[in-house]
């Protein structure tokens, strides 16, 4: 359950660009912690973040950030951090100089900015490389600089837009660890935008799901994970007999290529699967948990309520 006041509050927010509705009457609140905002490309994630940062004015509705109206208060941005998805780093300057500059841009005095730049680069694992020009960094190192510039001024809240974009599996793990650490150890709340369910599941406490500008889900990540998990089964023979045995036990099953997908498993479902396999004498080749693709989730959630509160 969330504690304390909402850090971000969105009420009936709508944003239209000529004939395109980017956000359609969405409402949610975000409290202390790590919250994921999940959606496919064009779902409205970036528009929502831009409105929360006060860069874009909503067509209607309101967005309050740290108690201030996002589109009217420029000063509140001194307590916000933003890590964009796309390239945004100067190639010719060193990470130390760049972070110092960004800290000053957020209002920190120069001597403090220099100290904080060094501390932040140590936190993001770039301390040894801090005097090299950023242009010579790898993709993973650049992502760390992007995270560092978002944290260098010690924001109360930080927006991370696709922080794992372009990273290899190891780099992705390290970045997600850093994100988690950012909240757990430094007390900075995070809104992580991603189109990868696994990133959100691994890092976030709560989740907001957008589709086509509408809010389709808002709640606890554990609950969302439970609701969206399936089990994939592949057998060598007697597939029809297995389906019949599962249906007889009230287990929802659907064909998935050469295998079968079983909806929303809980502990009792695994017992039913075991019994049905024995009864149908179907030799099991493979059984593995599997998550629905985002597109499938959105089809399923399309009729959900457009109003939500992260609880």
């Amino acid at each position: 359950m969330p504690s304390g006041p909402a850090l971000l509050e969105v009420e009936h927010l709508t944003k239209e660009y000529r004939n395109v509705v980017a956000l359609n009457d969405i409402s949610f609140s975000i409290f202390d912690g790590v919250t994921g905002i999940l959606g496919e490309n064009g779902a409205g994630k970036s528009t929502a973040i831009k409105i929360l940062l006060g860069l874009v004015r909503p067509t209607s509705g309101s967005a309050m950030v740290l108690g201030e109206n996002a589109s009217e208060s420029i000063g509140v941005r001194a307590r916000l951090g933003y890590m964009p998805e796309h390239d945004c780093l100067p190639s010719q300057v060193s990470a130390a100089e760049f972070l110092t500059h960004m800290a000053e841009l957020s209002g920190l005095p120069p001597s403090v900015a220099r100290t904080r730049a060094a501390d932040t680069l140590r936190h993001t694992g770039l301390f040894e490389e801090r005097y090299r020009a950023i242009g010579g960094y790898s993709t993973g190192m650049k992502q760390r600089v992007k995270l560092g510039q978002a944290l260098v001024h010690d924001p109360a809240f930080v927006f991370l837009d696709e922080p794992t974009a372009g990273l290899d599996p190891l780099g992705r793990e390290e970045m997600l660890d850093l994100v988690r650490k950012t909240h757990q150890e430094f007390g900075i709340s995070v809104l992580l935008s991603s189109h990868l369910m696994a990133d959100v599941e691994r890092t976030c406490d709560r989740i907001i799901v957008l589709q086509g500008g509408r809010l389709v889900h808002a709640g606890d990540v554990g609950q969302f994970t439970k609701e969206t998990e399936t089990v994939f089964i592949e057998v060598d023979t007697n597939r029809e007999r297995l389906v019949a045995a599962l249906e007889l036990r009230g287990v929802g099953v659907s064909a998935d290529g050469g295998g079968l997908t079983i909806e929303g498993p809980d502990e009792s479902v695994y017992d039913h699967i075991r019994d049905a396999l024995v009864e149908s004498q179907a030799p099991l080749r493979r059984m593995a948990p599997r998550r629905r693709a985002l597109a499938e989730l959105f089809e399923r959630d399309a009729s959900a309520s457009p109003d939500g509160r992260i609880a």
């Binding site: 831009k50 941005r77 933003y82 100067p90 100089e97 841009l105 957020s106 005095p109 501390d119 140590r122």
Partner: protein, 312 residues
């Protein structure tokens, strides 16, 4: 290491040490707001223009221009000094050697090249590399950003214009057999070249930054600006001569290189070597100064308008 804890005896002083927490820490100190942000953009602009904190290649161009301008003024001072020594006191003035009032005219092409090559770097790179997206999510507006960048390059340009004039002033003073007499007779040149330098810097910076606001590539902006100055000068000079009369005077006013030089003439109260053949030189001072402000304020307004609503 010393352990300051109740119930534990302190070990010998030889083993004392300090534990530093060098990790990330929260910040509870003062946040200085938008003025600090503007100052940060200004400082960064100066560093970009002069190549500070960048590799050696970034320093070559600005410092080469500054060295060249200083060399010109040094040569002018040496020639004047030699004339004084060889021809006696007042010889330089009798020979009508170029002085402070002529310097900006003589150096104008170098000053324009400096602005055309260096100024676009302050705007183009931020847009090309996307860094401006990070700036505008800080407590900073597009107006704050572009004004701070403009102020940064105007400051660099002003100092670049002033430095050779100061060298020339010192050179002429020391070249005179009686420096105190020179200073007494020519002290007014000092505020005059300071004012004319500001006029030159504001005009060239504004035009260069306006052109730079239309492209992400510094090279495109530089080539366009050099072309603009190079093409308008012979074109307007030829056309003004061809037409003649009042119309010719107004055609001559479109010589972009001469616009700040006419203001220089007004400030020094005499026509410089570069404008002595321009038909526009005979127009009233108020018209020439007004024309200068028109060519500075309108581009500045367009530049501001382009950045006013900029967002990532």
């Amino acid at each position: 290491m010393t352990i300051h804890s109740a119930g534990l005896a302190a070990p010998p002083a030889a083993h004392t040490g300090t534990v530093f927490d060098i990790g990330y820490r929260g910040y509870t100190g003062v946040r200085e707001g938008r003025n600090r942000s503007r100052l940060a953009i200004f400082k960064d602009g100066v560093r970009i223009a002069m190549g500070f904190g960048r590799g050696g290649r970034a320093k070559i161009l600005p410092w080469a221009f500054i060295a060249l301008l200083s060399l010109i003024s040094l040569i002018m001072a040496m020639i004047a000094g030699a004339a004084e020594r060889l021809g006696g006191p007042g010889a330089a003035e009798k020979m009508n050697l170029p002085s402070h009032g002529d310097f900006y005219g003589i150096a104008s092409i170098i000053l324009f090249l400096f602005a055309a090559v260096v100024a676009p770097e302050l705007l183009c790179r931020d847009r090309r590399e996307g860094t401006i997206n990070l700036y505008l999510v800080r407590p900073l507006t597009g107006t704050d950003y572009v004004f701070s960048r403009w102020a940064a390059f105007t400051a660099v340009m002003t100092l670049t214009a002033w430095l050779p004039q100061v060298i020339l002033f010192l050179g002429l003073s020391m070249g005179d057999p009686v420096p105190v007499v020179y200073l007494r007779n020519h002290w007014l040149d000092f505020p005059r070249f300071l004012a004319a330098g500001v006029a030159m810097a504001a005009y060239t910076t504004t035009l260069a930054m306006l052109i730079a606001s239309f492209t992400n590539r510094r090279a495109y902006a530089s080539v366009f600006l050099i072309g603009l100055f190079v093409i308008t000068t012979p074109f307007t000079v030829g056309l003004a001569e061809e037409i003649g009369g009042a119309a010719g005077q107004w055609v001559s006013m479109f010589n972009l290189t001469n616009i700040p030089l006419h203001v220089n003439d007004v400030i020094f109260g005499e026509v410089s070597e570069m404008t002595e053949d321009a038909p526009a030189r005979t127009l009233p001072a108020a018209v020439r100064v007004g024309w200068y402000f028109l060519w500075t304020l309108i581009p500045a307004g367009v530049l501001w308008w382009r950045y006013r609503r900029l967002s990532p």
